[in-house]
Symmetry: C3
Subunit: 137 residues, 3 copies
């Protein structure tokens, strides 16, 4: 069995940004030389998520409106008594999920026709990382 | 290390259906010959989910009522400007999750007493797939 | 490839408790002797979750208030017709997620600076388990 680990780095211009990373993950899998197995893609910061869904700007906008409704910014969160102002980002990333496992088959990401991997930043404008670990044969 | 990959296929009669797939996953693990490791069960379409919870019809109904409240159909979603009408299905599957990892121990799914694996279809009446990848020794 | 499996046991005093388990998971990884790979941490009971987020009491309180808003106790859930009273616990754990994969790199949990692993109990005061399976080289 082989393992191969790399990290993606982000520093978004906006506080909230959704960034497609399917090709970055595929490039790491290619470099790993692993033909069959899995790749874990996991946010290392707790106000960002990683999810799989459609690459369609309208739907991305729908996700953002929806998350604001379910986990609004600006409420009097207890977390803000520590000086933070990003409690909603912790909640939003919980709904989206913070990691995915993509199967690797025949040297490629084994994704359905519309599956794309996204990084969802909810408290950006600072340096963040995503760990990408490939395991297999 | 060994890997073994198979696919489950669905074409539901209803637009929304929750289908228990524990036995299908267990059968694939048995065919894999893998005794200790993990099995990834992941929806390949972005309007369906895979989750672990109780096999009890009342609770399944509760999930469906709850998802309709959190992510209603019929809102003026931006995604619908593309001609689609299923934005709520993308949101609902995000809450349920689109994949699970089941541990495999002593050749069997290492599940708690009430854990069952389900496929949650939110935009059915068409052909869909779930990838099942077993990895281990 | 090596695998190593252990179980964490809980029997909380309160019905709802969030318990940090990062050190317990790290100890199991150390005992496994695995240097590079992944560790699956997965609730074996369907009214509990496992998630990664901040170790800050205010935020934990925010999560609990938020979950009560999104998935309230005390509604006339269909599941309660079976004699159960915990449908909300099934829903709450679905939002938080029931499992995480932590990457293992250089013999340690490969976590970001604020990432902590938590067990989220939503129907406690009874015996529960979490399976921890390490896989790697």
């Amino acid at each position: 069995m082989k393992t191969y680990t790399d990290y993606l780095r982000f520093n978004t211009k906006q506080r909230q940004e959704f960034i497609r990373i399917t090709d970055d993950v595929a490039a790491i899998v290619k470099r790993s030389g692993i033909d069959d197995g899995i790749v874990l893609v996991s946010a290392m910061h707790i106000t960002a998520g990683v999810y799989v869904n459609d690459w369609e700007d309208g739907l991305i906008g729908d996700f953002q409106v929806w998350l604001e409704k379910l986990a609004p910014a600006g409420l009097p969160y207890k977390h803000h008594q520590t000086g933070e102002d990003n409690a909603d980002a912790h909640l939003k990333r919980t709904i989206m999920g913070h990691q995915v496992i993509v199967p690797v088959t025949a040297g490629k990401l084994d994704l359905g026709p519309w599956e794309q991997v996204f990084y969802a930043e909810f408290d950006g404008q600072r340096r963040k990382r995503v760990v990408v670990k490939v395991m297999g044969v």
